[in-house]
Amino acid sequence: MNVRELAHVMALTEFIMPEPEREVSGGYVGDLLSWVMGRAQTGNVWLTIMSNQNVAAVALMAEVSCVVLTEGVKPDEALRQRAEQQNINILGTKLSTFDAAAVLKQLMR
């Protein structure tokens, strides 16, 4: 499954999606950036409520396939700009982090 398909199946809001063809493999949930960087795997979908521009930097370094902002959180303007510059996919959902993770887990089976 790629990021475009994920966005479709989970009815995600597409804030920034410069690389829709990126393959999705598993997921990681976390808001502490270093924790995410140490634990997330390449290609993971990263579920978080953090929305500052450091999220784009962490997504770039950890090579996640996309960031999904949960709980209705929207990216701030600086995050949008940095995500565009660095080709980071930023999506969103109104689902709680728990529910979004549960749906993702089902999809990854």
């Binding site: 140490g38 390449t42 600086a78």
Partner: protein, 140 residues
């Protein structure tokens, strides 16, 4: 052919903007065609180091040496130094302030991540003088 040397200045002023040097290095390593996992590990090492320099030391310098077999990343700052390196290496230990924590940093995972993602890490530090962290990442 000699090693490729890259030099970056890390501005200490702005934690929100941090990561610029790491992003540039990552782009350069990609252009060089290095293995993706090597690039990922080097990028995490440098980004964590960059964040540490901004939070604790008001910035610093980074030298990256890309050799045939090894990438060496050396971060040098003139910050307060690390009084107890063993304690700083413990997962979860952090002296970061509230501003850093509000942005999602200060989890006490920076140095452990750097250690995990590098093949060798040396910390030379002196309280009141500064810190140099040298990390090596083998390419093969």
């Amino acid at each position: 052919m000699g090693d490729l040397k890259l030099n970056y200045e890390v501005d200490g002023g702005d934690l929100i903007q941090a990561g610029e040097a790491s992003s540039k290095m990552k782009m350069t390593l990609k252009k060089l065609g290095l293995p993706p996992e090597v690039i990922r590990r080097a990028s995490i090492c440098m980004y964590e180091g960059e964040i540490n320099m901004v939070i604790h030391a008001d910035g610093g310098q980074v030298e990256v040496d890309v050799g045939m077999d090894t990438i060496t990343i050396r971060l040098t700052d003139h910050g307060p130094g690390i009084p107890d390196v063993d304690q700083a290496m413990e997962e979860g230990f952090s002296t970061a302030g509230d501003v850093a924590r509000d942005l999602g940093f200060g989890a006490g995972m920076g140095l452990p991540n750097m250690k995990r993602c590098s093949d060798d890490m040396q910390i030379d530090t002196q309280v009141g003088v500064g810190t140099t962290v040298t990390m090596k990442i083998h390419i093969n």
